[in-house]
Symmetry: C2
Subunit: 128 residues, 2 copies
């Protein structure tokens, strides 16, 4: 892992919510980051390796919390609208279901995006 990738990865790992590329850029200015490409290039490689996931719904990025994401089923994200935290988990059955739905239609499934927005348990608890 190169220096830039390590910096981006550490930052995402330390964050409890998705960060945008420009959030990352701002956070890493003290480490010498000056241009968006430095962030995007690191993200591209980290994502290819499965160390980071892109959250399409919020144009943000999170460090993978699964141990061996590449070998596992699709990642499912629950995104809290209130606290903005993202919770990642996998479900092999769901992954298989999607593959099957695709197969029924002759569709060769590649990357899958599953994102659910709503209110997380902690925010439901604390709400009036």
């Amino acid at each position: 892992m190169t220096r830039n990738e390590a910096l981006v990865y550490q930052l995402l790992s330390a964050s409890d919510r998705p960060l945008s590329a420009y959030n990352i850029l701002d956070a890493l200015r003290d480490d010498g980051f000056k241009a968006p490409l430095q962030v995007y290039r690191a993200l591209t490689k980290l994502i290819a390796r499965g160390a980071v996931h892109r959250i399409e719904s919020v144009n943000g990025f999170v460090a993978c919390r699964q141990h061996d994401c590449g070998d596992n089923a699709v990642s499912i994200f629950m995104l809290c609208e209130r606290c903005e935290r993202a919770e990642e988990f996998t479900d092999a059955g769901l992954d298989a279901t999607l593959d099957s739905l695709g197969h029924q239609r002759g569709f060769a499934a590649g990357h899958k995006v599953i994102e659910i927005t709503g209110i997380c348990a902690a925010c439901l608890d604390g709400s009036p």
Copy 2:
């Protein structure tokens, strides 16, 4: 449905693939569209009504092909990387599964995004 909404909706209905907001703007210049907001405002209302869906993976928009999307389960999109067409369908079981996964974690699910990229049947057939 207002004039602008109708124009956007007709355009999307006539397209066999997702269009970006700026694709739509360009296509509707002859109809008097001049600024992105005209497109985004129409899209916002059409989406709220369930007549149009946003495809997060490609920052694009499609007309809903289901008859009564609002009453139905989550929409699942299969996006062909080769021909760029989007196929929409629903699966009540999958919707229930996601609600259940959320419920297990105390998460109140709202909007769900399910998008699968890959190669569609037509493109697989025609490939060498």
